[in-house]
Amino acid sequence: MKGNEAIAEAAIRAGCRHYFGYPITPQTEVAAYMSKRMPKIGGTFLQAESEVAAINMVYGVSAAGKRVMTSSSSPGVSLKQEGISYLAGSDLPALIVNVQRGGPGLGGIQPSQSDYFQATKGGGHGDYHLIVLAPASVQEMADLTGLAFDLADKYRMPSMLLADGTMGQMMEPVELPDKEPEMIEKPWALTGTQMKREHNIVNSLYLDPEELERINFERYERYKKVAENETRYESYMMDDAEICIVAFGIAARVSKNAVNAARQKGVKAGLIRPITLWPFPEKPIAEAADKVKAFISVELSMGQMIEDVKLASSCKKPVYLCNRTGGMIPSFDQVLDAIMNAAGGDK
C-alpha cells in the first residue's frame, strides 16, 4: 500500500467521516482515496475552493464534535495556518496531514523536512502547539494517523502528521486496525441545544487580557501533560553509543543503515528517532548528552531540529548537522561519513 493511501484508510478506520482538501503534489492520493471511499460509507469528501476554506470546513466539523481531517503539502499547509491557530485557540481536535515538499515559496515537489519549525513551534499566530507525529514507514503512516485522532480528542487540540514526499509515495506492506475506534464524549460540541441545556459557544476571542492570559496558561498546563504522557521515540543501539544520531522520518531510515555500517567499522553509533516531534523527546537526548561524544542531527532541511537537539542536550557535547535540502535526501555514505568524522577525534 502507498503511504498516502495508508493515511486515508487508517483515518476512515479511526472513525473519520469528513475530509476536506485542495489538490497539491505530493499528497493527492489521500484526496483521491477519500473521494472514492467517503461517498460509499456515508461520509463527506469535499474539494474545497482553497486550503483556507478547507481548514475552516475542518473547523466547522470539529466544532460539531465529529472526527475530521485535511491533508496538504508545504505551501498548502502555510495557507492553513490561520485556521490551525483558530483550532488551537478554540481547543478543537482535528488531524492535519503535511506531506512535506521542498521550500520556501513554491519550492519543489520532492521530499523535505523543512516545515519542522512551522509544525513544532506553532506555525500560525499566538501561543500554541500541535501534537506532531513523524512516521518513518508506511505502517507508521497508518498507526500514527489513528493515534493522532485519539490524542487530538483526548487533549482537545489539533494534531499533525508530518510526513514527507518519500513516505507518501513509498509502497510497503501494512497491517490496518480492524477494531471499532473508541470515541469520547464531547459535551462542548455544537449539535443544537435541543432546548435541554444552555447554548454551547466555540470561540477563540477574549478581549479581556487577564482572561486570555489565564486561558493560555491553562492550555499550557494541558500541553505539559501531553509532554509527560505522550512523548514517543525509538532508541536504537543507544546503550553503549558514543555517537548519537537524531533523525526522524526518511532521514531516520537512512541513518539506521549508517549506524549498522559504522558498528561494523568499530564505531559505536546509535540513533534516537523522535516519533513525536512535539512534544520533543528531550529526556533521552539529555541522558545521552552525559554518555556520548557527539550528536549528529540528520535532516532534510538547512538544520531545524538541530536547535531542539542542542537545547535538549544543553550543548554538553558537539551537535553536528548532516543535511540535504531542496528535495534531496542525505545518502547512506553521507551519513556514514558524518559518523566517522564525528568519531574521528579518537582514531
Binding site: A54, N56, G60, A63, A64, S90, L190, Q194, I201
Partner: protein, 251 residues
C-alpha cells in the same frame, strides 16, 4: 397586563454592545423571530463573523461558533455536513462576506450548500473604526478614503446579490432593508423564507440587509436612515434576485 410585544426567545438577555441607532439590533431580532416562528432554536447552530457582529455568539440563544474573518460559510459548511439535521446560519458583514471572504461566499453559493446567510451591508468597516468597505459607495468618505472613494484607483462597490444571481447554484438570493417599517416587515418575511428553504432542503439562501452605521458615517440615526433611502438603496436595489423554486413553479 397583556403582553403584545416581547423579546424573541432565541435572543439571550445579554446587553448588546451596538452603537445607538445601529440596525444590527433589528436584524438580530428578525433572525431570532424567524428561529422562534419556525420552532428550530434547539437544532440551530449560528456562525458569528469578525466585525461588529463578532459578539453575536453571546446574543443568540442557540449553539454558536465564532469564525475567522470571512470564513463563516466554510465553517457553516463543516457544521452542516457534520450534522445535516442542524439548521446552520451565518451572520456576516460586508468586509467579512464581500472582501476577505469572497471565495467562501461564492463557492458555498455555487455548491448550493444547504445553509442560510444573513449579510449585513452597511458600506463600512464598523468594528475597526470606519474604513472603506467593498460596498462603500463611489465618493463615500471613510477613514481610508478620506477624499471619497475614488473608483479610478480602488474600483467600484461589489453588488453581492447580483453577482450570486448569475450562478446556477444558489436557491434564494434577496436584498432587503431595515430603514422603515415596511422594509422591516419585508426583511422579516425574506429571512424566514431563507430558514424555511434550509429546513426543506432547498439549499443556499442569502439575504442581504442594507443597513446603517450612524457612528462611522458621522450622522445622526435619522440622517443615516435617510442616507439609506437616498444613496444606498438606489445603488443596492431591493428585491429577489434569485428564487429557483419559484422560477421552477412558474411563479
Amino acid at each position: 397586563m397583556a403582553v403584545i410585544f416581547s423579546k424573541p426567545k432565541s435572543l439571550t438577555d445579554a446587553p448588546m454592545h451596538y452603537c445607538p441607532g445601529c440596525t444590527h439590533g433589528i436584524i438580530h431580532r428578525l433572525v431570532a423571530q424567524a428561529i422562534d416562528d419556525l420552532g428550530i432554536e434547539g437544532r440551530t447552530v449560528g456562525v458569528a463573523p469578525v466585525g461588529c457582529a463578532v459578539f453575536a455568539y453571546n446574543y443568540f440563544a442557540c449553539d454558536m461558533v465564532e469564525a475567522a474573518h470571512g470564513r463563516a460559510p466554510a465553517v457553516a459548511t463543516g457544521l452542516k455536513r457534520a450534522n445535516p439535521d442542524n439548521i446552520v446560519f451565518t451572520y456576516q458583514g460586508d468586509g467579512d462576506l464581500a472582501s476577505i471572504g469572497t471565495a467562501e461566499t461564492v463557492h458555498s453559493a455555487t455548491r448550493n450548500e444547504n445553509i442560510t446567510i444573513i449579510f449585513v451591508n452597511n458600506a463600512i468597516y464598523g468594528m475597526t473604526g470606519g474604513q472603506m468597505a467593498p460596498t462603500s459607495l463611489p465618493g463615500q468618505v471613510t477613514q481610508t478614503s478620506p477624499y471619497g472613494r475614488d473608483t479610478n484607483t480602488v474600483g467600484f462597490p461589489v453588488r453581492v446579490c447580483e453577482m450570486l444571481a448569475t450562478l446556477d447554484g444558489p436557491e434564494y438570493v434577496a436584498r432587503v432593508a431595515v430603514n422603515n417599517v415596511k422594509n422591516v416587515n419585508q426583511a422579516r418575511r425574506a429571512i424566514k423564507k431563507a430558514f424555511e428553504n434550509q429546513i426543506n432542503g432547498k439549499g443556499f439562501s442569502l439575504i442581504e440587509v442594507v443597513s446603517s452605521c450612524p457612528t462611522n458615517w458621522g450622522m445622526s440615526p435619522q440622517d443615516a436612515l435617510k442616507w439609506v433611502d437616498e444613496k444606498m438603496i438606489p445603488y443596492y436595489p431591493l428585491g429577489v434576485f434569485k428564487d429557483r423554486s419559484a422560477a421552477k413553479e412558474g411563479k
